[in-house]
């Protein structure tokens, strides 16, 4: 469990300001989704939290300690799958653990099975479909030990059903281990279904424009997705996003 504080973060690439005064807090064990137009700076925000970019201004605190520019505090799933072509699937999902020091093959095999990748443990990434690679990358982040998980569009290449399975699995992992999750997605349904709070970013430069506190009780059910309230929320958020896009 970790509490993440983002204070007045700004960054530019060249002369272009990308993030402008981003401020928010993720409480211990909170599930926060981040929505925002393509190219607004969501992945850049993760890169800042992960410490590979240094903000021009502002600071990042994890459990009260400053981690600006410090690495290794997050379980990360990048937007590109970033698998190693020379490692088998099994070795790829274990990479995060290896970096932290311990390999738990049994758990990895079990997780691969849950994600429908049984039988592919000894395959290499180039033998997998796009969605399968994405699941591998997702499992890698789940297996990483850090309690703050940052997922960058983790389910974008999955069919609706597989995606739903993965969402539920993520929720169960989250509830079981009470990890704090930052979740980038373009899917409003997904954001509503999963998160406690939804942050909407504006574009060029991005700042937190709106914060939605999701009212639905947990555990959430499939029926909820078809409720009128859900639809209303969805339309609200959609309207909010539309106004910052393009």
């Amino acid at each position: 469990m970790s509490k993440l504080e983002i204070n007045h973060l700004s960054i530019s690439f060249g002369s272009q300001k990308i993030l402008d005064d981003i401020t928010f807090t993720a409480e211990e064990g909170e599930f926060i989704s981040i929505l925002g137009p393509s190219g607004s700076g969501k992945s850049t925000l993760f890169n800042l939290i992960g410490g590979i970019l240094i903000p021009d201004e502002g600071s990042i605190l994890l459990d009260g300690k400053e981690i600006t520019g410090k690495r290794g505090s997050i379980s990360y799933m990048p937007q590109s799958h970033a698998l190693m072509p020379w490692r088998t699937i099994l070795d790829n999902v274990l990479l995060g653990q290896e970096i932290a020091g311990k390999r738990d093959e049994k758990k990895a095999l079990e997780m691969l099975g849950k994600a429908g990748l049984k039988g592919y443990e000894k395959h290499y990434p180039h033998e997998l479909s796009g969605g399968m690679k994405q699941r591998v990358s997702f499992i890698r982040s789940l297996l990483s030990p850090q309690s703050l998980i940052c997922l960058d569009e983790p389910f974008s290449a999955l069919d609706e059903f597989t995606r739903f399975e993965m969402q539920n699995w993520l929720l169960s992992v989250w509830q079981q281990y009470k990890r704090t999750i930052l979740f980038i997605t373009h899917n409003i349904d997904e954001a509503l279904y999963l998160s406690d709070r939804i942050l909407v970013l504006s574009n060029k430069p991005a700042s937190v424009q709106k914060e939605f506190i999701v009212p639905f009780k947990r555990p959430r059910t499939e029926e909820m997705l078809y409720s009128a309230e859900f639809l209303k929320w969805k339309q609200d958020i959609y309207r909010e996003i539309k106004q910052y896009s393009l």
Partner: protein, 256 residues
Amino acid sequence: MKTLVEKGWRPTLVLVLLFIIWEFSVKILEIEQWLLPAPSQIFNELIHGTDVYLEHLWPTIQLCIIGLAIGCTVGIVTGIILHIVPFLRQAFYPILIISQNIPTIVLAPLLVIWFGFGMLPKIFVIILVCFFPITISLLDGFRQSDRDVMNYMKMAGATKQQIFWKLEWPNALPSLFSGIKISATYSVMGAVISEWLGASKGIGVYMQLSQSSFRTDRVFVAIILIVILSLLLLGLIMLLEKKMIRWRPKEGKSHE
């Protein structure tokens, strides 16, 4: 075995063709045999002169295997050190270049005085020849790591060491083997040259003695032996490459 035959027939064919052309041009152009002996003559000597050259074979083989092995090690270690300590990389790059530009005729006396006439100075020469292509290729390989994976590794908190061993090193393997292949090709020639520093047995000695007694056919036998050794070494390295870089999609599927 099947693939060996499959792959082997083409180069064999080309070589045979080459020899035939050579044989005929020598005959037709009446090139004198002390200048360029006909292949038939060379093969004759290769077959019937075994008692002359056999004893010279082993010392060279030994020399070039030991030299290449140490040369690879030195090349790899140098590459790694220069890569992980950027300060050293910039500082020592010119020294690398210098090391390749000191002619043996200058080095030889120094080596002999420091190390005597044993194997040591000879191995030193081979190392000097072999380590360079390896280091350069390796350094270039290290630089070509995938950005996304690199970023993942860093954000996951990988130490420099982990980034090196888990990402940069495996990623540089193809480049490394490219360098080793170049070095292996040079290693036998390096051994032969090093024998001119003073050896009593070895292909280099055999070649020089043949040369000074105008036995050009034997000089060419020496070349054939050198080439065979080189090809064997290279084959070994390619085998190793195949064993170590298994993940690469089969060429057949990706190229046509």
